[in-house]
Symmetry: none
Subunit: 526 residues, 2 copies
């Protein structure tokens, strides 16, 4: 069976997503990672639509790709002009990509009511545009926009548009569910019927692809259904980025094809690069990684309940549908309020700590952690604080600093902005340091002052920064007297850690989390 071809459009359709944008340089970096993963086609953008797109193809021409073919995206020629005079089509040829994807209209509603075109001119636009690009020796993929809606409205005409693309010489016919409203059983039925019709008409085995959107939460299922119905290409994006609800998430499609359907599309070696690739794309597009994302998310192989954990340790299959390592992910055991002793021991082992070692009183540790969780600490989401806590149980633990005191003042005068100042006094190895700083709010002021004080002793703090800050009021029914839990995520290069603080005083809770974060960072190098 022909291997399934993966067509990535993260850089084109994915960039349509709200809040997502890539610079041409970002795009090249992403394209190189996709190529390194063994992706077959990389759609870079729409030449002529904006300078950034043109710049990408310029950079791409001087970049070497091992497996991937760079493809440009564009539309069929405009109404009533010859293909060779159409600026869009000329730009597609000029960009120099070995493959080109053009989309055309399938749905008579769009052709007539929206475009004010005739059904026959639309067919001519499709055939002539494909022929023009084939004439320039490119591989041409035809994206049939709104195919499924168009087919439901007028099946004969919908198929005619595909025949037109084939007469023009299209290499692959891609059925697009542009509005994302189609369900898997419809994809199966329609794709099988259409492929049979085209195969009969041409006497060939027509190569078909699927382009799905996730408006019904079934984009991945639709893509899998299409492959099972005979498609040999799946178009999608990394992390499912894309407009509205996003495109087909390739970080799910690829492992499903490789591991479940035994239709390998990348090598087992490359499959291990899936999670790093997902993380790289979310960082590059400045999106917060979705913890619950299948296969690649931080929580995808996280276990909470004590029962689950002991079972997973006996037999991973019992609660894991695949081996996390196969996709470059890893098992995580969440130390939570329902955690049995086994969770805590496993979590400690992950950090290279053997609770049965002589210097530990593991029973006491487990009990203390449970007590802390009663108070509202949640170590399942605070690996950094868990590490610091474990270190404290070790006999040779030494803090990298001691807090002597802090003062925070927030001042507000009518019609003037609110201001915050912090004074922090710390002691490092017997030496005291007192500093003050301002900030955007009290926590920011405290962060700045503590950092300033410590950086006198520790230069390495410059490379570390806070990336996320969460506040949870626990059982707010005490009104403003409620206990507050603060979670801080810090980053240093590739290393990311979370720390936690709990107090009735939000500033004290924040300081606790900040202190743990600095402690974790500074203890690392020892």
């Amino acid at each position: 069976m022909e291997p399934v071809l993966i067509f990535d459009t993260t850089l084109r359709d994915g960039a349509q997503g709200e809040n997502i944008s890539f610079s041409p340089e970002d795009k090249i970096k992403v394209a190189q990672r996709l190529d390194d993963m063994g992706i077959h086609y990389i759609e870079g953008g729409w030449p002529g639509s904006n300078p950034a797109a043109d710049r990408f193809f310029e950079l791409a021409r001087s970049t070497e790709f091992v497996t991937a073919r760079i493809t440009a995206f564009g539309s069929t020629r405009r109404q009533g002009i010859p293909a060779e005079e159409d600026a869009n089509l000329k730009a597609l040829v000029a960009c120099g990509s070995p493959a080109i994807t053009i989309f055309g209209k399938t749905w008579d509603l769009h052709v007539v009511d929206i475009m004010g075109n005739t059904l026959s001119e639309n067919l001519a636009m499709i055939e002539e545009s494909v022929a023009f690009l084939k004439g320039h020796g490119r591989e041409v993929l035809y994206d049939a926009e709104h195919f499924f809606d168009g087919y439901r409205a007028n099946p004969e005409y919908a198929v005619k548009t595909l025949s037109a693309a084939l007469s023009g010489g299209a290499d692959i016919i891609v059925l697009c569910d542009t509005n994302g409203g189609t369900l898997p059983h419809e994809v199966t039925e329609i794709l099988e019927t259409v492929k049979a019709a085209l195969d009969a008409e041409t006497g060939r085995d027509i190569r078909m692809g699927i382009h799905a959107h996730n408006d019904c939460s079934v984009a991945v299922a639709n893509s899998i259904a299409a492959v099972q119905a005979g498609a040999i290409m799946v178009q999608g994006t990394i992390n499912g980025y894309g407009e509205r609800c996003g495109n087909t998430d390739l970080t799910s499609v690829i492992p499903i094809l490789n591991l479940k359907l035994k239709r390998p599309c990348v090598s087992a070696e490359n499959l291990k690069k899936l999670k790093p690739l997902s993380r790289f794309v979310s960082e590059t597009s400045n999106m917060i990684p979705l913890a619950s994302r299948p296969f690649v998310g931080k929580s995808a192989f996280a276990h909470k309940g004590g029962v689950h954990v002991s079972a997973v340790m006996k037999e991973p299959l019992s609660y894991e549908h695949i081996d996390p390592e196969d996709v470059g992910n890893r098992r995580r055991v969440l130390v939570s309020d329902q955690a049995g002793r086994s969770n805590i021991e496993y979590k400690a082992k992950e950090m290279g700590i053997d609770l049965d070692a002589p210097e530990f009183d593991s029973k006491r540790i487990v009990n203390e952690i449970k007590m802390l969780e009663q108070e509202g600490y949640q170590y399942e989401v605070a690996d950094g604080s868990f590490k610091v806590l474990m270190d404290k149980f070790l006999l040779q633990y030494e803090p990298v600093f001691d807090l002597e005191s802090f003062r925070v003042t927030i001042e507000k005068d009518k019609d003037r902005p609110c201001t915050s100042h912090a004074i922090v006094k710390v002691n490092v190895g017997g030496v005291s340091e007192i500093t003050a700083a301002e900030g955007h709010g009290p926590v920011s002021a405290l962060d700045n002052a503590l950092r300033k004080a410590l950086s006198r002793f520790y230069k390495e703090l410059e490379t570390m920064h806070l990336v996320d800050f969460k506040v949870r009021v626990m059982d707010g029914r005490g009104g403003t007297e409620a206990k507050v839990r603060v979670l801080i995520e810090s980053r240093d290069g590739d290393d990311i850690w979370s720390t936690i603080g709990v107090s009735e005083d939000i500033i004290e809770a924040s300081f606790e989390a900040l202190a743990d974060s600095f402690q974790y960072k500074l203890a690392k190098k020892k």
Copy 2:
């Protein structure tokens, strides 16, 4: 055809999700919203597993539900003891829920290797546990854990476990894809085969349900496939919350059943409550709403400028698979938001304010509110602040007090508790008052000082108190400099109102919300 029953497990399986936790009072609020939406079953928790679960069922007994049946969750009896002596089963009966869901083992791997049990004792555990609960007159749902994995490993035994549940008297048999590794075509094939076998064996039309997890991004597709194969119940959670990659997202399943498969499970009226419900659950669990979530997400019907927008204006069908209003969502045009006005007019009308009344400049009001919402204010969850804002637009508006200034200090010394003090200076009708107060944390100190200052002028403040306090960091990526949104819920007898504050400074944001709350309370009597 029997209507599909929706079984919500947000409060049980959903609460297994990383970072998700509900107080018993939160759970009741969520249950009431689910009931109002017309959900058929609400699983509240596992009685006896922790005090919070028991407290929920205690509260549920004294709460009236219109359509929903509250169900308790638990396991089959322990090995080697009679059902009537099993503490878990007794707790299930004691909690008083009209329906009970118990899960049992399907997979011989779990029965033998993990539990160290025998295949025959496992069958006895299932049958006797179901029979015991039926003996107490409850509706009993049987969750067949790991059914699909178990069936692949040993189909005969897997079916035997279901027969055991049926012999015990189970009302509905639910097939669980516990590890989330199953694909839609497998669900179709296995569910059809198994149902046919059970129907033949019993001579009845066995009522079956599906419980899917999203580890392959196909939980919704699996649930739809199950319904098409004859299941009459879908178990899932609001927003797909749940451990690892989450459970089946009911906010997709419900509209797909109603609008696409013409198998209505809730009324068209209730379907319009879907987006507000999704938002309520994310606020209550303090999860940031996923903008790209199908049907209910902020981006689900968002259109970027250009071709799409003009097409959508001509004919919504052209780029929208359903009418957003059907699920209580709305179209958003990202370049310039057209939809805001009707929304705001709707909200105002709710409060008995007619924006077209002469004293209003409704165009200006709409624009100002849109600007405020850009900054992070969310009036749909802050009716109190919305009322105060509306009053401000009224010509005869007069503030019940003016803030002159405040000062808040937080002091922490090594080995001493953290202390907070606040000084507040207000002006009421030309008279200034300055007071100081302590508190549990800076917000509490501010609350106490403001209350003390105002109570010199307004006695009625004594009857009012704050009942809830929520903090949400918006776009935490700025670390501790991120903007913060504070929501405060206040109560005075039966009247409950929410107020909001937004600032980079959490203390300023809190003061804003506090001030609105006092303003709302004191303006009421006028």
